[in-house]
């Protein structure tokens, strides 16, 4: 079931009855209690959400740990299709997009996001092992907000994430 739909309904239920428990909500919406809890948790999570798209698990895990420690809410995707899906369901604040990913590649993901008015505002930082100028230009032309070459400096990446987020808020 779509998390967003639940969250709307959960909110309206809570408005009607401020003392309602998660169990009652789950019964009313006929979903599991844990899902209701999860929904509430995510709704109350004020951390900024980062979507990391990378098929290399080790790189992904390391970055996820580092960013979570930094106070970001991190969601992950391992290929192009999953990335699009996660953007739709999670509405991340920023996307760290590796270019060489299975399914549809990073460029294509970026293009699709930019063509969709609902998601075109989400800043994208491209991560890639390829450091050629052409790649950078193509990435920027497709609407990437920044471009970071692997292996990157963790501090630098964090600074860039902050920068694009701030720029986006303005």
């Amino acid at each position: 079931m779509d998390g967003e739909n639940i969250s709307g309904k959960v909110l309206s239920l809570m408005e009607e009855n401020p003392g309602i428990t998660t169990k009652e909500i789950s019964e009313k919406l006929s979903v599991s209690e844990s899902q209701v809890k999860e929904t509430l948790e995510s709704m109350s999570d004020i951390r900024q959400k980062v979507l990391i798209v990378d098929d290399e698990m080790d790189a992904l895990i390391a970055l996820k740990v580092a960013l979570e420690t930094e106070g970001y809410n991190v969601v992950e995707a391992q290929d192009g299709y999953e990335a699009i899906e996660k953007v739709h369901s999670e509405r991340p604040d920023v996307i760290l997009l590796d270019l060489m990913i299975p399914g549809i590649d990073g460029f294509e993901v970026c293009k699709q996001l930019r063509s969709d008015p609902l998601y075109s505002h989400i800043p994208v930082i491209m991560l890639t092992a390829r450091g050629e100028v052409d790649d950078k230009v193509e990435g920027i032309e497709l609407g990437a907000d920044d471009y970071v070459t692997k292996p990157f400096n963790l501090k630098e990446l964090k600074a860039r994430i902050k920068m694009v987020l701030r720029r986006n808020q303005d």
């Binding site: 390391a62 970055l63 740990v65 420690t69 290929d79 092992a129 292996p151 963790l154 501090k155």
Partner: protein
């Protein structure tokens, strides 16, 4: 085939050939005519000679016969008692040509003669009024020959009057008769029907003709005027006593039937002046030279054939020459095309190689950078967050160590490829037990197999001999093939390893029932740097070197490796290893 220019050349050539041929025929005709005129001249000369000969022999024999009588007549002994009978008899016998010889006394009475049967003894010329010639010879004392007259016997003959004198005294005359038929039988031979002779006197009157039923003593020119043209001129010449040759045309109702050649010669016999002519058709000349015509014609035809042959030969040579030129040009063009094509193909291949190299470098750099990224991120994190939990710290260190391993594996693969490429891969061959090797390989892959919940079935025949190979490399082969099988299989699938013993080698197959591949991909999987579609490769990971290394290892030891596959059905990799020979001989 022939362009405009060579067509004109051909026409020019044909004109020259035709000119040559017509000049040959022209020369042939001209030669014929010349030959004919020469032969005709010769023929007429010959004819003239013949005519002369006949004429002179007639003349001589006639004159000789008469001379015999003249000799008797000029005797001074007077008239013998037998009235010349014995002399006449001997003259008759010697001459052999007289019809009769008679002696007429000075009174004009026939007193003797021989042969007696033909002699009218006692006939008096005065009585029978036939004295004119007698008196003429008495008066003139000259021999007189009459024109042919009709004899009492019915045929024609000439009377020859010879005066007989004793000194100056006239003693009578001899009469001799030469029958025309005797002359004819003597001199006119019926040699061929196309030639004939005629005899005319000095007044142009016909005395004799082989052909033509004309009245005697008619004017020959007049009787033949309607059937011939040009003959009257010849007759006129003959009348004058000349000899020579001429031509006239025989006409039939005004149209020409044939041309005749005439030769004529005079015969002088005392007072008689005759002219003998022999005519032959001019076709006799043609008949003579017909073989020459034929030979000349053959020569002309042969020449024409030769020219035609040579010219067609020339045309053929030129034609072939231009054809072979064209062919050569075509061949060269084709060669150029082919070399262009091969250059283009080489260029394409080079571009493809260049692309593969670039792609490979990009993949390699990605593959080398990816573990570095994980290591760097993890180590920087550890550096920044000194006080993080132990569990987190271990997790990060695990990542670092794992990626160091991965990096070093990658470097090993690259080194292997580089060795295979430059034929520097060394094999430490030894007797190796396959079963044990498979076991070792499966241990290496145990974790990834477990992760995908896969099982491996190994089918080993009993009494499998040892193989002669490099054990570590064989493990590498198995690990690579199994790794691929795992990567391209779905969860819970099974992998099969079949080992079959052959004559001098062992055949090993690694079979999976995973996603498989199409023929185009199958063709290139052993190519170095080749990866099946970068996206799917990314999903399964790998540098695209595994199978290249496997192929290098197997083929480097003299074995073969083949792959068969079908999309969604799985793949089968089969390779061969040499048996340990020592083991077999023992």
């Amino acid at each position: 085939m022939w362009n405009r220019k060579s067509r004109w050349n051909l026409i020019l050539f044909a004109v020259v050939v035709l000119l040559l041929i017509s000049s040959i025929f022209f020369l042939w005709m001209k030669t014929n005519m010349e030959v004919r005129s020469v032969v005709e001249e010769q023929y007429q000369n010959q004819q003239l000679l013949l005519t002369r000969q006949i004429a002179s022999s007639i003349e001589r024999s006639l004159n000789e016969r008469v001379l015999l009588l003249e000799v008797i007549a000029k005797k001074d002994t007077g008239v013998p008692p037998d009235n010349y009978l014995s002399d006449l008899k001997s003259v008759y016998d010697v001459a052999g040509m007289f019809y009769v010889v008679e002696y007429v006394s000075e009174e004009g009475t026939i007193v003797s003669g021989y042969p007696e049967d033909n002699v009218p003894i006692g006939l008096n010329l005065y009585d029978s009024k036939q004295y004119r010639a007698f008196e003429m010879v008495r008066d003139t004392g000259e021999v007189y020959v009459t024109d042919p007259l009709k004899l009492m016997e019915g045929n024609y003959g000439s009377f020859i009057w010879i005066p007989v004198y004793e000194g100056d005294e006239f003693r009578g005359a001899f009469i001799a008769i030469i029958q025309e038929s005797d002359l004819k039988s003597r001199y006119v031979s019926e040699s061929n029907s196309s030639s004939y002779a005629y005899l005319i006197d000095d007044k142009g009157r016909l005395l004799y003709a082989d052909q033509g039923d004309y009245p005697r003593r008619a004017s020959y020119a007049e009787v033949t005027a309607s059937t011939s043209s040009g003959l009257s001129d010849i007759i006129e010449e003959q009348s004058k006593g000349g000899d020579g040759t001429g031509k006239y045309l025989v006409l039939d109702n005004g149209t020409m039937v044939e041309e005749r050649l005439v030769s004529y010669s005079p015969i002088e016999w005392y007072n008689q002046k005759w002219s003998l002519a022999i005519t032959s058709p001019s076709s006799d000349v043609d008949r003579l030279i017909v073989s020459v015509y034929l030979k000349l014609f053959i020569v002309a035809v042969v020449s024409v054939l030769f020219i035609v042959f040579v010219s067609s030969f020339l045309v053929l040579i030129l034609f072939n020459w231009s054809k072979s030129l064209e062919k050569e040009v075509d061949e060269k063009t084709q060669e150029l095309k082919e070399s262009n094509e091969s250059l283009r193909a080489a260029n394409r291949k080079l571009k493809e190689l260049d692309r593969l190299k670039t792609e490979f470098l990009s993949i390699v750099s990605h593959e080398l950078k990816t573990p570095l990224t994980a290591m760097k991120t993890s180590s920087e994190f550890l550096l920044e967050n000194d006080g993080c939990g132990l569990q987190l710290k271990e997790k990060m260190l695990d990542i670092i160590i794992r990626n160091i391993d991965r990096q070093s594996r990658m470097v090993d693969d690259l080194l292997d490829i580089s060795r295979i490429e430059s034929d520097r891969m060394k094999f430490h061959r030894e007797p190796v037990e396959i079963e044990n090797t498979i076991k070792v390989s499966l241990e290496v892959l145990a974790s990834s197999l477990k992760k995908k919940d896969m099982t491996v079935q190994v089918n080993l025949p009993d009494g499998l001999p040892l193989v002669n190979t490099d054990k570590d490399k064989l493990v590498q082969v198995f690990v690579n093939l199994l790794n691929n099988a795992v990567k391209f299989s779905n969860e819970g699938d099974m992998i099969t390893i079949d080992v079959v013993e052959k004559d001098d080698h062992v055949e090993i197959s690694v079979i999976d029932n995973g996603i498989g591949m199409g023929p185009e991909e199958l063709e290139r999987i052993f190519d170095k740097f080749y990866q099946i579609d970068s996206t799917s490769t990314r999903k399964v990971g790998g540098s695209g070197l595994g199978l290249s290394i496997v192929k290098g290892i197997i083929e480097g030891q003299g074995g073969t490796i083949t792959a068969t596959s079908e999309p969604d059905k799985g793949s089968r990799f089969t390779f061969t290893l040499d048996k340990q020979q020592d083991e077999v001989s023992e």
